[in-house]
């Protein structure tokens, strides 16, 4: 638990900023011409960007963007993926074959490229980013859930539940899903990190939120043109992005160990 305090507090901070940011008097779009490209200093915590907008305010709004996108994408793909994977593994036969082939096709594309194509087709905008990333993201959960169910459903307690007369829905919800949750939750924690990066990537390419709204990706893009004169425009959102993603990944590692240890001591199972 101890080695997780740092990343955990950073994550809590990220969530709080994202959720509570709008409550504060932020002026992310207010242009202050005399301060164009001013660096970190006494006037504003993190300086101003190329249009004279305060970087700190924009960073807070950007945190909100990445948080909302990450949570909604992971929620949608987690539910979609684990349900599809579980049902298909449980039903088996042709249904399973179709899903496996679909997963193979999705995995054959580089995920971010497919998301770029989808976002490009649907047009830029934050809703479309969420849709595009969820359409790409469910595959991982589906594959993991399917593999887990294939091994769990051969266990005798599932056969026992069938013998008792439990309906398929009851088998899935009581005897399969609870037993495959641990790896899926770990996968989801890494999925959040991946989505934060992907959203930044799409926004960097101009497919995400549209100006004047802010996202860490679009802030970095704006900054690249002034990298030599005003490096803070790239460094500030870049560091924020890196810190959040690193924190999520460390937290995910810790979560995996923690759930594993539990599984080892609490649920000793023999085959």
């Amino acid at each position: 638990m101890i080695r997780c305090w740092g990343p955990l507090s950073l994550l809590v901070l990220w969530c709080l900023i994202a959720l509570l940011g709008p409550l504060f008097p932020l002026t992310p779009n207010q242009i202050d011409l005399p301060n164009i490209l001013t660096g970190i200093g006494s006037q504003a915590w993190l300086g101003y960007d190329d249009l004279g907008r305060p970087m700190f305010d924009r960073l807070v709004i950007g945190a909100r963007t990445s948080f909302i996108v990450a949570i909604s994408v992971v929620t949608v793909s987690f539910i979609m993926g684990s349900l599809l994977g579980t049902c298909s593994a449980y039903i088996g036969g042709v249904v399973d074959l179709v899903l496996v082939r679909m997963i193979d096709i999705f995995l054959a594309f580089p995920g971010i490229l497919l998301a770029i194509a989808l976002a490009g087709m649907m047009g830029p905008g934050i809703e479309n980013v969420v849709i595009a990333l969820a359409l790409v993201g469910w595959v991982g959960y589906a594959r993991l859930a399917r593999a887990q169910v294939l091994s769990v459903k051969e266990q005798e307690h599932v056969v026992a539940a069938i013998a008792i007369g439990t309906k398929p829905l009851g088998i899935i919800s009581r005897h399969l899903l609870p037993l495959i949750m641990a790896p899926l939750i770990v996968e989801a924690s890494f999925g959040i990190a991946g989505t934060v990066i992907a959203e930044a990537g799409l926004s960097f390419l101009g497919l995400g939120v549209q100006p004047p709204a802010a996202s860490w990706g679009s802030m970095i893009r704006d900054g690249t043109r002034y990298m030599l004169v005003a490096p803070h425009m790239v460094v500030v959102p870049g560091l924020a992005l890196m810190a959040v993603v690193l924190a999520i990944n460390i937290f995910g590692d810790w979560l995996r160990d923690w759930l594993d240890v539990k599984a080892g001591t609490r649920h000793t199972s023999r085959s």
Partner: protein, 327 residues
């Protein structure tokens, strides 16, 4: 012993597993796990099914309960053919027939409390809920020798014998008439085996249960069974009342099994009949009598022709053997 009316009649049960191979997963051959098995279980009695590992006895039990789909055959349970029920009828019929599994570790969902495990059958059939469910679960726990406060615990907190009691309580919850005990005591050590066997015996008396008792352990079967069937490589070798089988085994395979059975008396002297070789692969079973490759009394006819069913007299004994020796 044989005065009751038949509760379950299985006729010509076959279960073949396809072996798929090649590019398009074509069925290249079949494993005949159960090949033409017929048996009859009287109400309130125990039918023992013995055989070596891999002879298909578990498959018999599971196909009867439709946990596996049979390839061929009929199973009349109280006059209704189990193999023709649709999913809804099957769910209803499953209230009257249950199973106790071999492995008390893997047969209980590790994420459910004992109370919800035992209450599950009642809940899924909508038979009880709330306080009624709770009292029923407590009564079942008490009946199988566990304490009521155990119901909020998880299976991993219990020993093998206690877990098997949980499994029994679960099977009893729906008040079934017929229970398949699939190697129900094989995973337990001997002292616990005796406790569980006694419990099963008491419950049979109390609830007028019928058991299909599947085991590889002859001592266990002898203790409980009224009728015994001996299986080898998917086929029945001999079916007889327990006493007749132990006192007067007819089939050479039964004789060999009985002679391999340890007697708990160090001074007992007897001639052992040892079988040579291994069980042939069920993928490619021997022609004729399946036992002929290891039979000490093998004749030429055994290698080509399936042995006929012979009724050992007197007929009311219902002692049957499939062997050319007696034809």
């Amino acid at each position: 012993m044989t005065n009751g009316k038949p509760l379950l009649q299985v006729h010509h049960l076959k279960k073949y597993f396809p072996i798929r191979s090649g590019l398009f997963s074509r069925v290249s051959s079949w494993v005949k796990a159960v090949d033409d098995v017929s048996l009859e279980i009287q109400e309130g009695t125990t039918f023992g099914l013995v055989g070596e590992s891999g002879c298909g006895k578990t498959t018999v039990g599971r196909t009867i309960l439709r946990l596996m789909e049979p390839t061929e055959g009929t199973a009349l349970f109280e006059g209704e053919n189990l193999f023709q029920l649709d999913a809804r009828q099957l769910r209803q019929t499953r209230r009257r027939m249950q199973i106790i599994f071999q492995d008390p570790y893997s047969s209980l969902n590790p994420r459910m409390t004992v109370g919800s495990l035992i209450g599950e059958p009642l809940r899924v059939h909508g038979l009880a809920k709330g306080v009624a469910l709770d009292t029923h679960v407590r009564r079942l726990l008490d009946r199988v020798g566990l304490r009521p406060e155990h119901q909020s615990r998880y299976p991993h907190e219990f020993s093998g014998g206690q877990r098997q009691r949980i499994g029994i309580a679960r099977a009893l919850a729906l008040n079934p008439k017929f229970i398949v005990c699939d190697e129900a005591v094989s995973a337990l050590d001997v002292s616990i085996q005796a406790q569980i066997l006694n419990l099963l015996g008491d419950l049979q008396q109390e609830f007028h249960l019928s058991y299909l008792f599947i085991s590889h352990d002859l001592n266990v079967v002898q203790y409980l069974a009224d009728h015994i069937a001996v299986m080898y490589l998917g086929k029945l070798m001999e079916v007889a009342p327990a006493t007749a089988l132990f006192e007067n085994p007819k089939h050479p395979y039964t004789q060999a099994l009985l002679s391999a059975n340890p007697i708990p008396d160090p001074s007992a002297q007897r001639e052992r009949m040892l079988l040579s070789g291994d069980v042939p692969s069920p993928l490619n079973p021997p022609a004729g009598c399946r036992f002929h490759t290891r039979c000490p009394e093998v004749m030429d006819i055994c290698k080509t022709q399936d042995p006929p069913l012979i009724h050992i007299s007197p007929p009311q004994n219902r002692h049957q053997v499939w062997c050319h020796l007696y034809s």
